[in-house]
Amino acid sequence: MTQALFGLLLRAAVVLAGTALATFALLWNAPGDPALAITIARYHSVVSPEIIDKIRVEAGLNAGFWTAFQSWIGPILQGDFGNSSVSGRPVLPELAAAAFYTVPLALAGLAIGLVLSIPLAIFAAKRPGSWIDRGAVAIASLGAAIPAYWLGLLLILLFAVNLAWLPAMGARTPAHAILPALTLGLGVAASLTRIIRSGILEARGQPFLPAFRRRGVSDKAIGRDHIAPHAAIPVVTVFGLELAFLLEGAVMVEVIFARPGLGSFLVSAIEARDFPKVQAVVLLAALLFVIVNLLIDLFYRMIDPRIGERDA
């Protein structure tokens, strides 16, 4: 087990190192002169070439790729993501302030998604092929096909404009978070419903279940103790992907509802070519993914230790 854990951690470290390298390589090779972009963003006017060169040296852009990479990664490993190349202020506090808006939104979206999808999936899987099941699948497919910006606008139109129950834009009160969270949650619910439903159906086809019924084990106990763990395996597998969907959706929803958060943070950073900010977002997202996948792997090994043994 310790050996397996070591392997998992090693894999995580390799993924993180690769992400860091790829991120830096992309920025290094981005079209246009980054030094010029920084200068324009900072001074809002065309300035002399000397100042541009000074900024180039300041940002370590004139050395070779590896030298620049090393001087870039060193402070990051110590938790210092540097200063914004536009404002000159440290990146991390600004990022934390943005995440303060986004993380609760994402969690609320996830919670709404789970609360809606689990009962719907169980209900649909009760009688596969019935009109209830087909209806649930159709709603879920529709939900997955509708883009978040359209669904968001639709919700705004209904609840903010026509019914005037909820505020549409901004983030002043908790009520402002309801529509964005709902937009996000409905999208999550749509994809989770389909995955959980097919997970349950697959688990119900396990060859040993008739024997449990013949032994007199109640349907309720079979569902709880045997179908649920088997259904959980594929659901957990796609959970990592679901997380990507959640982050992407949160960024989009923030833009639609004009909320502060990682969405506006990232968009403004990209527009200003504010490298340190973009890097910080990418690297922290990668770290989050690696941690979640590590937890998923450990969860797997807990419910089905054969998975770990097959790897070995």
């Binding site: 024997a211 013949r214 032994r215 007199g216 084990v217 106990a221 103790d225 763990p229």
Partner: protein, 227 residues
């Protein structure tokens, strides 16, 4: 107590795979249910178990392979406790130890999941669960076909010993008349979803009446086949 079922039938995708069938089983009786593959013997076994269970009779079933009886994600302890609960029995380590000793699996670690045991031990664990409630009827569906011969023979011998003199009747489902003939007093031959013949073992071996029974009887031994 005589167990009896009447009018059991089954169909799959519109095709009748078991024609209406009735059957009486006496207390402690040993019956072999034999037939070619696809003759409907497993279907009859399943229908029999389900029907008797639905009428509140005490009956247990052992499927062909432990993969069809055990959840790979759950420990053997869990399986045992779950079956005790299902039968409404209080947890009884003494009873458990008695059955495990009889089937020679008392050395196994019950905290493991099924695949932590050999297949032979898994199959004997499944048989042990079937014996737990001292059922009136034990239906064994090809109980040894997934096992190596040495383990298979040992399992059948241990089971024979455990059941001998008791009230539990046994229905042994197998395609192998040679195997069944050594273990049972009465043979039922299935053919095309119907009972073709039902007779005491020696009668059926020596004077089979139907083509299905004649074919099984003629091919029951490797070393004395007809030319």
């Amino acid at each position: 107590m005589t167990l009896s079922v009447t009018g059991l039938s089954a169909s799959r995708s519109g095709r009748t795979i078991l024609h209406p069938t009735s059957l009486n089983i006496e207390t402690g009786e040993r019956i072999g249910l034999v037939g070619a593959s696809g003759s409907g013997k497993s279907t009859l076994g399943n229908a029999l178990v389900d029907d008797l269970r639905a009428r509140g009779q005490s009956v247990a079933h052992v499927p062909q392979s432990p993969d069809e009886a055990l959840d790979p994600l759950r420990s053997l302890n869990f399986h045992w406790a779950e079956t005790e609960r299902a039968l409404g029995l209080a947890a009884d380590p003494v009873r458990r130890q008695g059955i495990f000793k009889a089937l020679r699996i008392d050395g196994g670690d019950l905290r493991k999941r099924p695949w932590g045991w050999s297949r032979g031990m898994q199959q004997r664990f499944v048989i042990a669960m079937a014996l737990m409630g001292a059922p009136d009827l034990l239906v064994l569906d090809e109980p040894t076909s997934a096992l190596d011969p040495v383990v298979a023979a040992r399992t059948m011998d241990l089971l024979d010993e455990h059941l001998s003199g008791g009230r539990t009747a046994m229905l042994l489902i197998t395609h192998d008349l040679g195997l069944a003939a050594r273990r049972v007093d009465r043979l039922i031959v299935m053919d095309d979803g119907k009972i073709a013949e039902d007779a005491p073992t020696q009668t059926l071996l020596n004077a089979p009446q139907t083509p299905a029974a004649r074919s099984l009887s003629a091919h029951r031994n490797w070393l004395s086949l007809p030319c």
